[in-house]
């Protein structure tokens, strides 16, 4: 499944894990109900986290009911019923996914181009529907994705600058999680750093493939990696790890200022343990693409 912002499962209490899973399933249900069955394929841990964070800030209790999974009807699951928070993050997810699809279509190989083209007629109406709900956010995300393209074409060698468009997009999404001005300030900084981290870890995950295919990768450009030499790639990965760790540190510092009224243990787990775990997983000997 998609997404890097995940909990560290072994450290969650069972009760907390059940709540987290119910929000994740609730997200899936909402995507299918509002944006069509195809939209379920865009289900992501990242947006499940944002839903839970928004519920935590608004002190919204998850309304959990048992029902059958719509993808696998043999399974009975606890599903968080639709609420404003899940509605917001699902809608915003459509905006991000549309641009990612365009990105995949333009950059990647034949297989990805075909998949993106096939998904396009389903995602476009969802994107337009989402854009009507949040036009300001849609505008900012669209302009940030344009900037991203420009930076990649110019082969930007600064990781900080390469991260900026995704960071700014996430900053805007995070600001929409609360209507309180003080919380919004903190959420902006938090969202910026989180977006930066997501871009970095994605680049790190794709590093070997990008170098082999000659695609843009900010770490490859910064450390002048031209061939897929395993030793060189390992060295670059170590440098990149320090940068990711540093970002996690700053994310934590901003996160602690948020006034979270509910589900703090689950959110703490994701921020203080989950983010680092996602990075460390890329370095384990049996690591696969996340």
């Amino acid at each position: 499944m998609l997404g890097y912002i995940r909990p560290c499962k072994p450290e969650l209490r069972i009760r907390e894990y059940e709540i987290y899973k119910s929000v994740y399933c609730g997200q899936c249900r909402q995507l299918g109900k509002v944006f069509g069955p195809f939209a379920r394929l865009t289900l992501s841990y990242d947006f499940a986290f944002l839903s839970l964070l928004q519920m935590g800030l608004n002190d919204t209790q998850a309304d959990i009911k048992q029902s059958r999974c719509e993808v696998n009807p043999f399974l009975k699951k606890s599903i968080c019923q639709s609420c404003d928070e899940i509605d917001y993050t699902c809608t915003v997810a459509m905006l991000m996914i549309y641009h990612k699809l365009q990105d995949n279509f333009q950059d990647n190989g034949i297989k990805d181009k075909l998949l993106s083209a096939a998904a396009y007629p389903f995602i476009l109406p969802a994107y337009e529907k989402a854009g009507k709900r949040f036009p300001e956010i849609e505008l900012i995300i669209a302009s940030m994705m344009c900037k991203q393209k420009e930076l990649e074409q110019a082969k930007c060698s600064s990781v900080d600058q390469a991260c900026e468009p995704t960071a700014k997009a996430m900053e805007e999404i995070a600001a929409g999680l609360s209507s309180d001005a003080v919380q919004q300030r903190i959420l902006r900084r938090f969202g910026y750093l989180l977006g930066r981290w997501v871009y970095q870890i994605d680049a790190l995950d794709d590093l070997t493939d990008d170098v082999k295919k000659g695609n843009y990768n900010p770490f490859a450009v910064k450390y002048e990696l031209t061939d897929a030499d395993e030793h060189k790639i390992a060295q670059v990965k170590e440098q990149a790890k320090a940068s990711l760790y540093m970002t996690i540190g700053e994310i934590g510092t901003a996160y602690e200022l948020l006034d979270i009224k509910r589900y703090k243990p689950i959110l703490d787990n994701i921020i203080h343990l989950g983010l680092k775990d996602s990075v460390d997983r890329l370095y384990s000997s049996c690591s696969k693409k996340i």
């Binding site: 900080d160 900084r189 996690i248 540190g249």
Partner: protein, 206 residues
């Protein structure tokens, strides 16, 4: 002011030691040193103020003399040409600060210049560039503690993947206090050693 026990996240029946531990944990989390140059520093300062007030109130209520020893914000040195730029940065007027800083000729770009550049990068969220700039500042001026501390804060985060000054989440999560098996054994061994030093023998086989 709201319930001081709620601010510290403890029950009104907490022991004095538990009150102190809760205060120390929170003070460490929101200490100004962790938010140096951070655009959210003022919010951390407010939280720190609430925490201090809550602790003082509880101490007064329990009639124990308070022993608050955490320092307030650092005083920046304002005796150089970069004072204006520092002020702009602390007011979060980043584009103006950056313009002024970039206007300074290359032959005058000393440690302070790199430190201020690092501060601007840090506020913007460009952490890698901030780390590079802070490191450069510290190498140009190794005796400056402010630059050194900025570098060490970021180095800590680069190595550990958690906020500077925060204890390992797993340790605090599992912190159940009290006495474990290891504690008892160690205690007995120490007691036996002390006893033997004084001529006795607590545990014959050790």
């Amino acid at each position: 002011m709201s319930d001081p026990y709620k601010v510290l996240g403890i029950s009104p029946n907490a022991t004095d030691d538990e009150v102190k531990a809760a205060y120390r944990e929170l003070a460490r989390k929101y200490h100004p040193d962790r938010y140096v140059n951070n655009p959210l520093a003022d919010l951390a300062q407010e939280k720190m103020k609430d925490i201090n007030e809550a602790y003082d109130t509880i101490q007064k209520m329990r009639r124990v003399s308070s022993n608050r020893s955490y320092a307030d914000n650092q005083n920046y040195q304002a005796n150089n040409q970069f004072a204006d730029i520092r002020r702009l940065i602390s007011q979060n007027r980043i584009p103006e600060a950056e313009e002024l800083l970039k206007g300074i000729p290359i032959n005058q770009r000393n440690g302070e210049w790199y430190f201020l550049m690092g501060s601007i990068f840090y506020r913007r969220g460009w952490l890698d560039d901030a780390y590079t700039a802070f490191s450069r500042a510290s190498s140009l001026d190794p005796n400056n503690s402010e630059y050194r501390e900025a570098v060490s804060r970021m180095s800590f985060q680069r190595s550990n993947g958690r906020p500077f000054g925060q204890s390992d989440y797993r340790q605090t999560y599992y912190n159940c206090g009290g006495c474990g098996g290891c504690d008892i054994c160690t205690g007995l061994m120490c007691a036996d050693c002390c006893c033997e030093c004084l001529g006795g023998d607590l545990i014959r086989c050790c």
